[in-house]
Every structure is written in structure tokens, then in C-alpha cells.
């Protein structure tokens, strides 16, 4: 199998130019041949214990996982989203896979893996050095390389894999893990809590401004391996951090389940900026294969004057179920959500945010841009909730949808629940297509049809791209262009 695949990837390299010309090709579609050690498919208490044991976790962590697992057993898979999901056989999934060779430093990292990143345009060393970005690369389920650890350590920033954090900083992990997304929060969060393999851990101590942007590339590799990352970012009083998450996955045919949990905690005056570019394999143009991306992301503005900002560009996955949220607990805390979600072919996305206003004079802003093409379905689902004590809360929401083609759907489901008379909540949404006038204007100036579409789409998304860190913005723009190939004409 491996030789066949490597042959495919070789052919792909040779034919790179041809592929680019021949419409949409998934540029990250290749499989790295690294031997896997993993658990056989199936899930029971034994699996949970085995994962915990493989990672050498303390007893409290094992118990925590088991509790989550038992809760998960009692929960039904949610069906309220506007998604049609084929039944998932949770017993057919392998819940743990790790590269066999456990590297001790970056130099020891399997060359094949480094090559994978190379192909993706993420040369670990170069990029880290040039861009001043520390990369904690998650290859399937175990962190294999971490850079700039010393520099970060000097600033007092802890940035490591979750498994390492559980070993090295159990007190911090124990205090914050599950405090934003409890183990029984929802079906997928409970599943994640039980079987999560690895993820990133960031701790910014009081008053520290993280000296660089932190970044992690998640990547699904082994076939039939669910990927269950767990990320925890804690920003102490007055600290500041910007975190980048980017995803690409190799091409394959079977649906893969991805159920991550991300928890952010911002204490008084702290700021967390979390940016995502998600480009999991979306399935082919007939809707075969692709990743199921069921993610729980939530930030807790625990202290006064804190701020959490989510920015996401979602172009991948067969099905996306994702609502990065902010609980505005502290007075004058701020929550932001900027999103571009693009669906094409048979992709389905049900994504949005929740802003829960609890503290006084809390503010939230939501800007969501949905683009649907092909036969896809793209929904924005958002909740703005103002509780009784949220004196002077303020929310502004803008949701725009762009339709490309006659067979796609664009939907908007905003919920507003207001219990405080001093709150001001505003929601606006529009749905339209690229107008003939816009196209005619571009075409009359000699711009090719596809270029015109990508220009107009780029303009449509500008408000969100502006919020992305520079190199991400460039990547995101490119990603939209690639994703929309073949959408017009």
C-alpha cells in the first residue's frame, strides 16, 4: 500500500504543473510513510485506560478521562445542526496512533515527517527562524518537535504538548483543564475528554507579552485514526498571546472523525488571539470521503478587562460543526469572532459562535462571511445571550452569505436572548450572489472570469482577513482561490 501511495505522491510531484491547470486539486493530498503504533479500532473503558497508560498519565487524569467516557455513554449524538451526517461507528475508529520513533529533539525528527511539512510549504526550521514563529507540530497524535522552547522559557512562557504538560505542570493543567469546556459539555467534547491523544498547552504568566506568535500545525495522517486534540491556553493577569492553528490533511477516501476541544482562559486584563486556517480534506467533488470536523472551542474571559478574539478561515472538511465561543464573565471584557467559511462540492458547514454576556459593560462583535458553491450547504448559527447582570452589554453581529451556483444553500440562524434592558444587540444578515454588474465590470476590464470571482470573494472576506496575522492572511487568500476553482463557468 505504502509503495503505491508514494508512487502516487511522486507522480503528483511530477505532474504538479498539470494538476494546477486541471482545476481543483488538493495540494496537501499525499501520505507520509511512517510506521504507526496504535491501538486497534474500538472504544471501551479499556481503550481509555490504555491511552492514559501509553501516555504515562497520573491516576487523576485517568479517572478524569473515565468520568468523561461514562458521561459520553449517556449522551446522544446531537442532531440539531443543519447537517446530514452518515451514522458514525465509534467502534470502528482507532483512538490512538503515534509515530513509532519518538524523537527527543528536532534533529531526531523522522526525515519523512519533515518532508511532509516541506511539501505543505511549512519548512519547520526555516519558517521558525525566518518568521520568528515557534512551531509545535502535531503529527497525528504525538508532538514530535518543538522549537524556540528556550526563548519562550526565558520569557516564562510554557509552550509544549499537552501530554508533556500533564507530566511537567500537573497543577496548572489540573486547575484549568475542563474548566471552560467541562467533560460532559456536549457529545463530542465528552468523547474528546475521554480519548484525547495530544494537543498544545500554553501558559503565559502574569504581565508577560509572548515574544512571538505561537503556532501549531495539526495534521491527520494514519488512515482510520480519529484525531482528538486537546488545547489549553491560559493567559494570566495582564498577559498577551497570539496563537495560530493551521490544518491540512492528506487525501483519502474514508471519512475521518476529528473532535477537538480548545479551551482558552483569560484572567484580568489578559488578551488571547486565536487564529485558525482549517483545510482538512473536504472529500472529492462527488462528496466521497473527507473529514468530519466536530470541534468545541470556547474561551472564558474570566477576569475584568480581558479579551478573547477568534478568527477562523474554514475551507476544508466534509462536515464542519464548530462554534468558537466566548463567555464574557469579567466586567468590560471583550469577545470577538471573525469567520470566513467556504463550502464547495458536497461540503456541509454549520458554524458560528456564542457570546455569553455575564459581566457589566461587556462587548462582543461577530463578523461572519459564508461562501457556498457547488452543491454545498453553509449555515451560520450563532447565539448572543445577555444575562440579567450584564449591565450595558453591547453586541454587533454581521453575517453575509455569498452564493455561487444554483444548487448550494446558504443559511443564517442567529439566536438573541436578552434579559437586561440596558443591553444593545444588533444583528444584520444578507444573502446575495456575485452580481452580473460586478462580473461585467471586471470582465470588461479584461479580467478573466475566475480571477474576477476570486477578486470579488477576496473583497467580500476582507473584513475577516484583516484580523489574521500577515502570513496567515496570504495563505487564506490563496486557499480560497484554490477552493473555488471550478466553481464558475
Amino acid at each position: 500500500m505504502t509503495s503505491e501511495l508514494s508512487q502516487t505522491s511522486a507522480t503528483m510531484r511530477d505532474n504538479a504543473d498539470v494538476a494546477e491547470v486541471l482545476g481543483r486539486s488538493y495540494s496537501a493530498g499525499f501520505i507520509t510513510k511512517i510506521e504507526m503504533t496504535g491501538l486497534p479500532p474500538g472504544l471501551d473503558e479499556g481503550t481509555v485506560r490504555a491511552i492514559s497508560a501509553v501516555k504515562g498519565e497520573p491516576a487523576w487524569m485517568t479517572e478524569w478521562r473515565l468520568q468523561a467516557y461514562r458521561h459520553w455513554l449517556t449522551m446522544p449524538q446531537p442532531d440539531w445542526a443543519k447537517l446530514s451526517i452518515d451514522p458514525i461507528d465509534y467502534q470502528a475508529i482507532s483512538y490512538y496512533a503515534a509515530p513509532k520513533v519518538q524523537p527527543k529533539s528536532l534533529d531526531e525528527v523522522d526525515p519523512a515527517l519533515l518532508e511532509t511539512y516541506e511539501k505543505l510549504g511549512i519548512p519547520l526550521h526555516e519558517r521558525a527562524a525566518l518568521a520568528g514563529v515557534a512551531v509545535d507540530a502535531v503529527f497525528d497524535s504525538v508532538s514530535v518537535g518543538t522549537t524556540f522552547r528556550k526563548q519562550l522559557a526565558a520569557a516564562g512562557v510554557l509552550f509544549c504538548s499537552m501530554s508533556e504538560a500533564i507530566r511537567e505542570y500537573p497543577d496548572i493543567v489540573r486547575k484549568y483543564l475542563g474548566s471552560v469546556v467541562p467533560t460532559g459539555d456536549n457529545f463530542f467534547a465528552a468523547l474528546n475528554s475521554a480519548v484525547f491523544s495530544d494537543g498544545s498547552f500554553v501558559f503565559i504568566p502574569r504581565g508577560v507579552r509572548c515574544p512571538m506568535e505561537l503556532s501549531t500545525y495539526f495534521r491527520i495522517n494514519a488512515q482510520n485514526t480519529g484525531q482528538f486534540e486537546r488545547t489549553l491556553i491560559v493567559a494570566e493577569e495582564g498577559s498577551h498571546v497570539s496563537y495560530l492553528e493551521g490544518c491540512t490533511a492528506p487525501k483519502r477516501d474514508e471519512n475521518q472523525l476529528h473532535a477537538a476541544v480548545v479551551e482558552l482562559v483569560a484572567l484580568e486584563g489578559a488578551q488571547i488571539k486565536y487564529s485558525t486556517v482549517q483545510n482538512w480534506y473536504p472529500g472529492d467533488e462527488n462528496g466521497v470521503g473527507g473529514i468530519y470536523n466536530f470541534v468545541t472551542k470556547r474561551g472564558d474571559c474570566r477576569g475584568d478587562d480581558s479579551k478573547i478574539s477568534w478568527t477562523q478561515v474554514e475551507t476544508g472538511s466534509a462536515i464542519t460543526w464548530k462554534y468558537p465561543s466566548v463567555v464574557l464573565r469579567g466586567d468590560r471584557s471583550v469577545g470577538e469572532f471573525y469567520s470566513v467559511a467556504l463550502t464547495h462540492h458536497h461540503q456541509q458547514a454549520d458554524t458560528g459562535t456564542k457570546m455569553i454576556h455575564l459581566g457589566k459593560h461587556t462587548k462582543s462583535k461577530i463578523v461572519s462571511k459564508g461562501i457556498s458553491a457547488g452543491r454545498s450547504s453553509n449555515s451560520y448559527r450563532g447565539l448572543v445571550k445577555v444575562e440579567k447582570g450584564a449591565e450595558g452589554a453591547r453586541n454587533y453581529t454581521q453575517c453575509d452569505s455569498l452564493l455561487i451556483g444554483k444548487q448550494c444553500g446558504a443559511h443564517t440562524f442567529p439566536y438573541m436572548e436578552v434579559k437586561n434592558p440596558s443591553a444593545i444587540i444588533e444583528h444584520e444578515a444578507t444573502t446575495s450572489k456575485i452580481s452580473d454588474d460586478q462580473m461585467f465590470y471586471c470582465r470588461s476590464r479584461g479580467i478573466a472570469e475566475e480571477d474576477a470571482v476570486s477578486m470579488i470573494v477576496d473583497g467580500f472576506c476582507k473584513q475577516v482577513f484583516r484580523e489574521l496575522p500577515m502570513e496567515f492572511a496570504v495563505e487564506a487568500k490563496k486557499l480560497l482561490e484554490v477552493s473555488l476553482e471550478g466553481a464558475v463557468g
Partner: protein
């Protein structure tokens, strides 16, 4: 769905004997809908359509049926009059047709207007389609009970190309009785091709008695028909009113709805419109003003299913005291409904720290040659406007009252019946809190 038969509300409603019509199709439909209600019970808040309207308290109450009451309570005829509404009138007290309060002489040509009970005795066949319906959705509990038990209501037909100028008035009175009553009304309204009708639907109270009323209306507009529909809901403060109106518009038909939701304890109105004919149009305007401990829930579902269909909706909510206002405005543009133009706005004023507004505008778009937009706000009066008025020497309280009145009256602006419009805006202003 929750514990069907154990709820006092469900068992008390099912205690009523199933009416018998002598027609197999109708008796079968009634029996099957009753069975569906008995099996399904009441929807709980996990059912999306009932997310913000909990039926827990209502579910614990018991209601008798109308036959329990030997005598019809007295209702004063003059209280039924509405300025600017001088056409024929059909009056129902606790769901039962009242000939003496109704005005059915001198019906204009082309208008058929009679109570359902009469129509069923006469020629039931045209009603067969509407009355043999089965309600299958989880949230349909009240439509089921209505289909099982409603024996009276309005049958209104306008012949093709007939223009009914004087507004037809339908009055539903909830009158004081010895016990808490449940009653059910079923209306079937049809406008023929090119027909025109002005209709005023009115809910009022002649007592403070607790009641539960369910009303289901089917309104069909033929090609090019026009309907001006005003709903004035000012039911008794103790009554729970569950209404569902289904409107179907054929090609070039145009319906305009103005709704004032003022009274009632727990009020729920589902307005479902299907724009099935090309270039049909629906305009809805409405205001809900819950105060005290009222709960008013308006659910709009507008489905664009044909080419060049237009809908515009403008709804305002004002919640005071401990009241709760709920609004859902769903617009669906079906595949192929190109040229659809849909807009919806819901603005709300929250006047008290214990009041709540839950609003949920929705867009579901499956076609691309479409213009669709919605907006919703929840907030207070604009500080700058207040400042402007105060800087011109208008006291704070007056300035607030003025701005609130303007906020509410916006929904009546395009009501063509001037006399009625003035009367309704006076009613609105009278109901405003003294701010």
C-alpha cells in the same frame, strides 16, 4: 415530547367527547388527530419551535370543554364595534357561533360567509381537504387537538373577481364561564382569482376567566387575489391563545397582514406562508407588547417557492415588567425560486430589568438569484433622539413616551384604512407604559 397522558392539561382536553359529524372522513380525521395528540402530548423546550415557550405551567392546568356550560355568557354587542370596520360580522363566543351578535344580512355579491357548523351541514365537500389534514410535526400538538375538537369557525369565500370593499369582521370572544374553558376554532378562507377582501380578525375578552383557545386558519389566495388582513389580539389577561394561520398565495396574489398582539397570558401565533405562485407577494407588519407576566410568541415562516416572489416583514416588540416577547422570523427560499426578494426586520425595546426578549430571524436560501436580508435589534430608545427632544424643552417622560409611540406606530404606517389605523394607534399608545 413529554409524558403525554399524565399532564393535567392533556388529560383534561382528552376528557371532552369527540364530536361526531356523521361523515366518515371527518370523524376519521378527528379521531386520528386526537390519537396523535394523546400519543405526542405537549412539545417541550427541546423542540426547536417551542424553545422559548415553555408549556410546563400551562400543562399543569385543567380546562373544561364548552358543552359543560349550559348557558352562553352575556356579551355586549356595542363593545364589538370597531371604527372603520362596517362590513358583515361573524361573532363566536367561546368558540360557538352567535347569530344574534353577528351581522350577516346584506352580504355583498360574491361573498360567502357562514359558520363552519352550518357549512358542514350544508355542503361539506369543499372543506374536506382542509379538515382532513394530519399534523405530523412534533410541535403540532395544538393543531392536532384543534383538528380533533373544533366544530365551529369561519367559512369565508370570495368569488373570482369580486371586490369586497367594506371590511369583514371576525370576532372571537372569550367570555367568563363557571369553569376554566378550552375552546377550538377552525377557519377556512378562500379568495378566488382576482378577488379582493379586507378582513379584520379580532380577539377580545368579556371576562378575566382563564381560558385556553386554539385557532387554526387556512387562507388561500387565488391568482391575482388581494387580501388586507388586520389582526387585533386583545384577549383577556388570563387566557392562553394558540393560533396558527397558513396562507397560500397563487401567482400575483398579494396579502398584507397587520397584527397587534396586546392581550393574553400565554399567546402563540404561527404565521406560515407559502408563496407558491410566481410574482406573489406577502407583506407582514406586527407588534407584540407583552407586559405584566405576559408571554407573547410570534413565529413567522415564509417560504418562497416560485419565481419573483416578494416578502417583506417588519415586526416590533416592546417588553415591560416581567413579560417575555419571543419572535422567530424564518425565510426559506426554495431551490429554483429565482428572483425572490425577502426582507425581514425585528426591532425590540426592552423596558424593564425583569423582562426578556428572544429573537431569532432565520434565512434559509437554496437559490442564487436572490435578494435576502434580515435584521434584528434589542435595545432601548436612542439616547441622541431623547437628548434632541429634551434640548427642545420636552420633559424626559414625555420624550420617552413620544419616541416609544413612534417606534410602535411604524408598523401601522401603510395600513390603508385610515379610521381603523387611527383607532389602532390610539389603542397602542394607551397600552404603553407611563415612562
Amino acid at each position: 415530547m413529554s409524558q403525554p397522558a399524565t399532564l393535567p392539561l392533556v388529560s383534561s382536553l382528552l376528557d371532552a367527547p369527540l364530536p361526531s359529524s356523521g361523515m366518515t372522513w371527518l370523524d376519521t380525521a378527528r379521531r386520528e388527530n386526537r390519537e396523535a395528540f394523546a400519543a405526542g402530548g405537549l412539545p417541550d423546550t427541546r423542540v426547536e419551535a417551542w424553545k422559548y415557550t415553555a408549556l410546563r405551567a400551562l400543562g399543569q392546568r385543567r380546562f373544561g370543554h364548552v358543552d359543560d356550560v349550559a348557558q352562553r355568557p352575556a356579551v355586549d354587542a356595542p363593545t364589538l364595534a370597531l371604527p372603520g370596520v362596517d362590513g358583515p360580522r361573524l361573532v363566536f363566543v367561546n368558540g360557538v357561533f352567535c347569530a344574534d351578535l353577528s351581522v350577516l344580512d346584506r352580504l355583498p355579491e360574491g361573498l360567502t360567509l357562514q359558520p363552519l357548523s352550518q357549512a358542514l351541514r350544508g355542503d361539506p365537500e369543499p372543506l374536506r381537504f382542509a379538515l382532513s389534514r394530519h399534523y405530523r410535526e412534533v410541535g403540532d400538538a395544538f393543531a392536532r387537538i384543534n383538528a380533533a375538537y373544533a366544530t365551529d369557525g369561519v367559512v369565508l369565500r370570495v368569488a373570482a373577481h369580486a371586490k369586497i370593499v367594506a371590511p369583514v369582521q371576525l370576532v372571537f370572544v372569550g367570555a367568563a364561564a363557571e369553569t376554566d374553558l378550552a375552546w377550538h376554532v377552525r377557519n377556512v378562507i378562500a379568495l378566488g382569482e382576482g378577488a379582493e377582501l379586507s378582513l379584520v380578525e379580532q380577539y377580545m375578552a368579556a371576562g378575566e376567566q382563564a381560558q385556553l383557545a386554539t385557532l387554526v386558519s387556512d387562507i388561500e389566495l387565488g391568482e391575482g387575489a388581494r387580501l388586507q388582513h388586520v389582526v387585533l389580539q386583545n384577549a383577556a389577561i388570563g387566557s392562553s391563545l394558540i393560533r396558527r394561520s397558513s396562507v397560500r398565495l397563487q401567482a400575483r396574489a398579494h396579502a398584507t397582514v397587520h397584527a397587534l398582539e396586546l392581550g393574553g397570558a400565554l399567546v402563540r401565533h404561527d404565521l406560515q406562508a407559502d408563496l407558491v405562485g410566481d410574482a406573489s407577494r406577502l407583506d407582514t407588519r406586527g407588534i407584540f407588547m407583552p407586559h405584566g407576566r405576559q408571554h407573547i410568541d410570534t413565529q413567522l415562516a415564509i417560504r418562497h417557492q416560485a419565481l419573483h416572489t416578494v416578502s417583506s416583514s417588519n415586526w416590533r416588540g416592546v417588553a415591560n415588567d416581567r413579560a417575555r416577547g419571543v419572535f422567530r422570523g424564518a425565510i426559506v427560499v426554495a431551490p429554483g425560486a429565482d428572483g425572490s426578494d425577502a426582507s425581514l426586520s425585528n426591532k425590540n425595546l426592552l423596558l424593564s430589568p425583569a423582562a426578556e426578549i428572544d429573537t431569532k430571524p432565520e434565512l434559509e436560501i437554496h437559490a442564487d438569484e436572490v435578494k435576502a436580508a434580515h435584521g434584528a435589534t434589542v435595545g432601548q430608545l436612542d439616547e441622541r433622539s431623547l437628548f434632541y427632544l429634551r434640548s427642545r424643552g420636552i420633559p424626559q417622560a414625555d420624550a420617552r413616551a413620544l419616541l416609544t409611540a413612534a417606534f410602535c406606530r411604524a408598523v401601522l404606517d401603510d395600513l390603508p384604512n385610515e379610521v381603523l389605523r387611527d383607532h389602532l394607534s390610539a389603542m397602542l399608545i394607551a397600552q404603553l407604559p407611563n415612562t
